[in-house]
Each structure stands twice: as structure tokens, then as C-alpha cells.
Symmetry: C2
Subunit: 103 residues, 2 copies
DNA sequence: TTTAGTAGTCATAATTTTCTGACTTATTGC
DNA sequence: GCAATAAGTCAGAAAATTATGACTACTAAA
């Protein structure tokens, strides 16, 4: 977490950046759930047991900052907020699939 | 680091495990160098600037514990120790390549 | 014999990441 | 009005990760 995006300096390992985007205690889980369906904050909090508001909030923000998720405000009566995979986020799905096939 | 391998419990995200193997400040870099050539502790320490003995030592041990690297003692006069990619380790190379092609 | 290199370990310290609980704003239902 | 849900923020505490410096054991060279 706190993936200091501003300091991308001396990035000698090209895969390291991407790997960092998905490191952090809950990010892979968040990503997996995002592949299945749009994310809602409060249901995420219920789905990922052991997690907490603060960390999920920061993780979502960071995943958005690096362009893997995007926040969508659904202008309806109760005003929903969804966090969806972006195209960049979707491009990571095959990598995930590959990781899953190993293990 | 300190990838508590014993506690693999409630692993709901299948890719999370693999992702964790390569998370940690220096592991992706170590992995990348291991793809290029067998690793030697002291040269690794020189190659990865900003790193330190302790962390590298723990990272190497953990990468070995999860079966991505293997320690090979070369019984020659000055007694060398090499850390090489295992088959499992090699199987991750395409995933790395994919990660690099994105970014 | 003193120095240098390899390959580490150990205890402790500093830094980062994650967690807890209180609090906020807005809307809906009773 | 009062409680509940959604979607958070904030400060501070706790836990995990990473870094530092000292030290070990062995070999080899000067």
C-alpha cells in the first residue's frame, strides 16, 4: 500500500511496477472480485473478511490512481458508487489467469 | 517478506499466493537477475543497490522455501554457493514476460 | 599475520503497511 | 425526528517489513 507513485525512479525491473500495483494485503483479492462484477465499497467490506474500511479505501484509491480501476457514480435515487476495471485493468486478466494456472 | 508460508489458510484468491511470492521490495529484481544467470550472494548485494544483506538473505531463503530458487553448493576450492531457478521458477518466466509487455 | 572476500546470522532500529474506533455527509425508511 | 445504510475520512496504535551494524567461519593472498 502507499505505493508512492511519484517515485518511479530507478525502476530497474520492468515487471516490478506492475507487481507492486497488485501487492498489498487485499489488492489481489479486490482485483479478482472486480473481474467478476463491479465493486461497491460496503459489499467489498463484507465480502473480504478480515479487511477494514481504511485499507480497502486506500487500496481502491491506489488501484484507481494507477488506472486499473475507475470510479463510476451512478446517478440514481440512493446514489451508488461503483469501482470498475478499466481497459488497462482488463489487460491484466490473462496474467492473473496464468498465475492461477500455476500455483 | 516473511511470507508466512505455514499460514496458507483462507486463500480465497488463487493468484494471491504467487503474487506474494514475488512481492517484497527486492524479490522481483532478484527473480529477474536469476533468469539471466545463477545468483551469487555477494554479487547480488553489489548488483542491487540500496539493498542489504539481511533482506536479501531472507528473500533468497523464502524464494527457496517456496520452490522458485534452489541453492547449489559448488564444491570447488573457494566453495561457491549459487541460487538457481527451479523448474517451478522457470515456469513463471512467461508470466513475467507478460507483465513486462504491459506496463 | 593482517587484510580481504564469500556467505551468511543476530539483535535491534527505523520505516511502511495495516488496523481500530470515532466521526462525517447524504439519503431512505419508520 | 430517529435509526440505518452507503461511502468514506482522520488520528493514532499495532503489526509487518526492511535496514543497520556487529559478528562468525572459512579461504586466500600479501
Amino acid at each position: 500500500m502507499t505505493t508512492k507513485i511519484e517515485i518511479i525512479e530507478n525502476e530497474t525491473c520492468p515487471a516490478q511496477g506492475l507487481l507492486k500495483l497488485l501487492s498489498g494485503k487485499w489488492k489481489p483479492e479486490i482485483f479478482r472480485l472486480a473481474v467478476e462484477a463491479p465493486l461497491r465499497f460496503s459489499s467489498l467490506l463484507r465480502q473480504i473478511e478480515g479487511s477494514n474500511k481504511q485499507t480497502l479505501s486506500v487500496a481502491l484509491r491506489e488501484l484507481e490512481e494507477v488506472g486499473l480501476l475507475e470510479k463510476v457514480v451512478i446517478q440514481q435515487k440512493p446514489l451508488h458508487i461503483e469501482h470498475n476495471l478499466t481497459e488497462k485493468g482488463k489487460s491484466l486478466i490473462p496474467v492473473f489467469k496464468q498465475l492461477e494456472s500455476l500455483g
